[in-house]
């Protein structure tokens, strides 16, 4: 039986019915990984031995007649900016090439209690800065639908792993779209929960007030199940919400009757890809036909979101990344004195994009510029939040494209940083407002590259997002198609 192409909920059923063993499943996924990883390069570290041991332990539980949890025995991948005790965590940066955390991120601790099988650490743009995974300090990841294309980013490795079958589910992180956009590019489901819904303890910080961990899965059912595991307050993260966490699987119902879905005109931007616009509008029509009411809404400050985001995120990043200095951990490039050592280490081991953002951030925070740039951006952030608060007085969910284009060719955009930044227009506003968002496959471009529908929810209302996304997903079959590893290299 081919197993790597099935979603977790089907595999869980097979495990419970003892039709397959966790070891069999893990071997199947690892074999698939062997077959595709050379082309996709989704992983920075592969933990085969650990995976097989974990699988064996689950099989023993099953043999002993124990009830197993949803993720038990299910192969998953963790983005390599999430700390795993004893397993190298690099953030795709040369500066942390050999860093082995002495602790687990809180999400990893939560996952481990479910006994999943962790197959490896997924590639990303260095320190999660980028939207294509081309900024990895080691190698770019390729899109499983067309290996000449980028998988999106920064959680490109996580999305590509799930799309190519070398993991059944993955964890990503989303600061400005880094879960949703690669999910869209790779034809999988990706959710950024509300800021604070999932603990950030152990997620290597890029921009602390924007970062959030979330699931990348084959379908909405898996998304709800993974979210159930990772959501909830954590004493180690003071910004994690105390709000009660509902059972998200209860939202896996096909019902959008009377649901008000907002359509923000500002998200259908000039220069948007025709195929994307068509697919997204079709999806919205589909939701309408399923009983939802479509309402036009306006989010007038959307056009300022890129400027706001690219001042706030680099400013936070500039301080967050000060700790990589070659003193007490990480790689070191020597110098005659400490200042020289720090400067050498940082100059030679950070990649170009990371350095660029550090420079932008320190410029925006430096004496004389703080008010004009950083403080101004914090104020506009308030206005962007307010746009959503106003819109959500009229609607339950907002629908929009996840990204203005499908996946583009590797190397096509990388030389123009500003052009890259502009690609984030549909995703960054949610991070600024702290809102939850989910990307679900909603069709293909003419070149058969996946397109994502983005649904945006009220704060802490992931449940309605899941219900809406599930209803839409079940009305068509995009989520059932697996990537074919096309492209010239395939």
């Amino acid at each position: 039986m081919t197993l790597w192409n099935k979603p977790a909920h089907e595999l869980h059923d097979l495990l419970v019915k003892k039709e397959i063993s966790a070891t069999e499943l893990t071997q199947d996924v690892l074999a698939r990984m062997d077959a595709v990883e050379g082309k996709v390069k989704a992983f920075l570290t592969i933990t085969k031995e650990q995976a097989l041991e974990q699988a064996k332990a689950v099989d023993e539980k099953i043999a002993a007649g124990e009830n197993i949890s949803f993720l038990a025995g299910i192969p998953g991948a963790v983005k390599d900016n999430i700390c795993t005790k004893g397993v190298r965590t690099t953030c795709a940066s040369k500066i942390l090439e050999n860093f082995v955390p002495p602790y687990d991120a809180s999400v990893v601790t939560k996952l481990q209690k479910e006994f999943p099988v962790l197959v490896g650490k997924a590639n990303l743009d260095e320190f999660a800065m980028g939207g294509s995974t081309e900024n990895s300090g080691f190698y770019p990841t390729h899109n499983p639908w067309n290996t000449e294309c980028v998988p999106g980013g920064s959680s490109g490795g996580s999305a590509a792993a799930v799309a190519s079958g070398s993991a059944i589910f993955a964890l990503g992180s989303d600061t400005g779209g880094s879960i949703r956009q690669p999910a869209s590019f790779c034809g999988v489901v990706g959710m950024k929960p509300t800021y604070g819904r999932v603990s950030r303890y152990g997620l290597v910080a890029y921009a602390s007030s924007l970062d959030q961990i979330g699931p990348i899965t084959r379908d909405v059912t898996d998304c709800a199940n993974v979210l159930n595991v990772i959501a909830g307050h954590d004493d180690m993260d003071s910004t994690s919400s105390f709000a009660e966490v509902p059972d998200y699987t209860k939202s896996l119902v096909q019902d959008v009757k009377g649901l008000k879905i907002g359509l923000p005109k500002e998200y259908f931007v000039d220069g948007m890809d025709q195929d994307v616009e068509k697919a997204v509008r079709n999806a919205i029509e589909q939701l309408k036909s399923l009983g939802a009411e479509i309402v036009e809404v306006s989010l007038p400050h959307t056009k300022y979101a890129i400027s706001t985001y690219y001042l706030i995120a680099p400013a936070e990043a500039a301080t967050n990344l000060e700790r990589y200095d070659g003193i007490s951990y990480g790689e070191r490039i020597d110098g005659a004195d400490v200042v020289e050592l720090m400067t050498n280490t940082r100059s030679k081991l950070f990649g170009e994009e990371v350095k660029r953002r550090i420079m932008i951030g320190n410029y925006a925070l430096s004496a004389g510029y703080y008010d004009a740039y950083y403080l101004k951006a914090l104020k506009v952030r308030t206005l962007i939040q307010k746009d959503y608060t106003d819109a959500f007085e009229k609607v339950d969910v907002i629908a929009a494209p996840t990204a203005p284009t499908p996946a583009y060719k590797i190397g096509e955009m990388i030389s123009d940083p500003l052009k890259m930044y502009l690609q984030d227009i549909c995703t960054v506003p949610l991070n600024l407002a702290g809102l939850p968002g989910i990307s679900v496959p909603c069709g293909y471009s003419q070149k058969h590259m996946p397109i994502g529908l983005q649904l945006i929810g009220k704060p802490l209302d992931e449940a309605t997002l899941i219900r809406t996304a599930y209803t839409y997903e079940q009305s068509q079959s995009f989520h059932k198609e697996m990537a074919e590893l096309g492209g010239a290299e395939a």
């Binding site: 900016n81 999430i82 700390c83 965590t89 953030c91 942390l96 860093f99 955390p101 002495p102 602790y103 991120a105 950030r200 303890y201 152990g202 997620l203 290597v204 910080a205 602390s208 007030s209 004493d235 180690m236 993260d237 003071s238 910004t239 400013a315 936070e316 500039a318 301080t319 000060e322 700790r323 990589y324 200095d325 003193i327 007490s328 951990y329 400490v338 200042v339 720090m342 320190n362 925070l365 430096s366 004496a367 703080y370 950083y374």
Partner: protein, 479 residues
């Protein structure tokens, strides 16, 4: 030209919490290097801080005890600078919304009351320690870093530049130390670095309102260094100006061995700390009710206690000031008085014999071998006339080295005062007979000559004769 110094202090006060400000590592002094550390205080990738509730409580109490306004909305900020003792390369501190602002304390200098305003009190984390391979940082080819102290909670207490002499600065710092001890937020052990000050000094022509260029001396950790460094710096700056030079704004270091301040590096590369709000720590919001609740928990503070000692016991302003300058001493005093001792005698004995003995053995009052109860019992014996003050000194010596009660010591050594008129009369008669010269002098009008005779009687009675009775009898007999 005559110059006047302008002095401001930034006092760093280490708080006596069990755990660090942002993680659960213990704060204990000592401990092997890098054993009180965890991912959070090591600043490892991915970690997040959590605020120790007690630190906020201590910050608010310190603010209330120094007449500050408590900011009902306060937050933490990142102060960015690179130094190997700072694992994140920023110090989590407070910038524009510190926990407390706009306070004051009164100090007494040479009998005059003076008010020193406090700009602010903010909470922050301490840095780690560098251990150098050479004698000084500059001649060390390498250094070793110990992060045990990283994240120990500090209050930074910033004064306005309201002081003008080293003595004022010392008195101010002693006052802050006393207050922090009273409200029990810090051990204030200067030798362990619990309390240290950055001192800003500038001078200006007397009468001028404008501030001169200031220099800063960091990490002054004893009262003596504070006074010496300020005096040295005032002299140095005066000399520079009198020679027609100008003061360079810079950080200087105090070398206590050589008794001079030295330029570290002038601020050619002025710090741009790029303060930004700490996004990982939600703000601290305090209500009036909470502030009042903390106010109620405050103990009697030094000024109030001093006033009470003056009113209740008639102590002099000076004595009350000395007794209340440290909480342990004030508490010791209270216990002695509660034990039945006369308050003025208690003050005299504490400030006199007890202080002398403690100083000689470098002990603090908390470690005094003579407990308040025994001192109280001894003072009562003086009041009752059982022993003289002079004998009491012998008894005190005994108590210092033994655990015996004063009554037992007096009994065992036969030190009970002789109050039997007949017994004293015998000695007096003998002394009059044996000392014709002073007797003659006295009779000849030199009334002071009686002193020699009293001395003789006391000597022959081995100090046990009641001095008042001796005086009386001698005067009687000599007519």
């Amino acid at each position: 030209m005559k110059y006047e110094a302008v002095i401001g202090l930034e006092i760093h006060c280490e708080l006596k919490t069990k755990t660090k400000i942002f993680c659960g590592c213990e704060t204990g002094f000592g401990g092997d290097q890098n054993t009180h550390v965890c991912p959070v205080c090591l600043g490892l990738p991915g970690v997040l801080p959590t605020i120790n509730k007690r630190v906020v409580e201590f910050g608010i109490k310190a603010g209330l005890a120094t007449n500050c306004t408590i900011n009902k909305f306060s937050k933490f900020d990142r102060k960015n600078y690179y130094y190997p003792d700072l694992p994140k390369n920023w110090q989590t501190s407070q910038y524009d919304l510190p926990i407390a602002e706009h306070g004051w304390v009164d100090i007494d200098v040479e009998g005059e009351k003076k008010r020193v305003r406090l700009t602010r009190i903010h909470m922050e984390e301490d840095a780690g320690k560098l251990v150098h391979s050479g004698n000084t940082i500059k001649d060390s080819a390498s250094s070793n870093v110990d992060y045990n102290r990283t994240g120990v909670p500090l209050l930074e207490i910033v004064s306005e530049p309201d002081m003008h002499t080293a003595e004022e600065a010392r008195t101010y710092m002693e006052k802050i130390k006393a207050i922090m001890e009273y409200i029990d937020v810090s051990n204030c052990r200067m030798e362990e670095g619990n309390l240290r000050a950055d001192v800003n000094v500038s001078i200006r022509p007397v009468g001028s309102k404008e501030l001169g260029t200031r220099t800063e001396m960091k990490n002054i950790n004893s009262f003596k260094s504070l006074v010496d460094a300020i005096d040295y710096e005032i002299d140095r700056q005066t000399e520079v100006l009198e020679d027609g030079g100008h003061i360079v704004q810079e950080t200087r270091t105090w070398d206590p061995n050589r008794g001079i301040t030295l330029s570290m590096r002038s601020k050619e590369d002025a710090h741009d700390y790029r303060y930004m709000p700490e996004p990982d720590l939600p703000p601290i919001v305090t209500t009036d009710e909470q502030i009042e609740a903390y106010r109620k928990e405050l103990p009697e503070l030094p000024d109030a206690r001093r006033e009470r000692l003056e009113k209740e016991y008639g102590l002099s302003d000076y004595d009350a000031g000395v007794i209340t300058a440290s909480r342990p001493m004030a508490e010791y005093f209270d216990e002695v008085v509660a034990g039945g001792a006369d308050a003025k005698l208690a003050a005299n004995w504490i400030m006199g014999e007890l202080a002398k003995h403690l100083n000689a053995e470098n002990k603090t009052i908390v470690d005094s071998p003579v407990e308040p109860a025994r001192l109280a019992a001894m003072i009562q014996m003086i009041t009752k006339g059982t022993i003289s003050s002079k004998i009491a000194k012998t008894v005190f010596e005994e108590m210092w080295t033994s655990k015996d009660a004063p009554e037992e010591i007096v009994k065992a050594k036969g030190l009970v005062q002789i109050t039997d008129t007949k017994a004293i009369e015998e000695i007096v008669d003998k002394v009059i007979a044996d000392n014709p010269k002073p007797v003659e002098d006295y009779k000849g009008g030199n009334k002071k000559a009686i002193g020699a005779l009293v001395g003789q009687v006391m000597k022959q009675s081995k100090g046990k004769a009641n001095p008042q009775m001796v005086n009386q009898l001698l005067a009687q007999k000599l007519g």
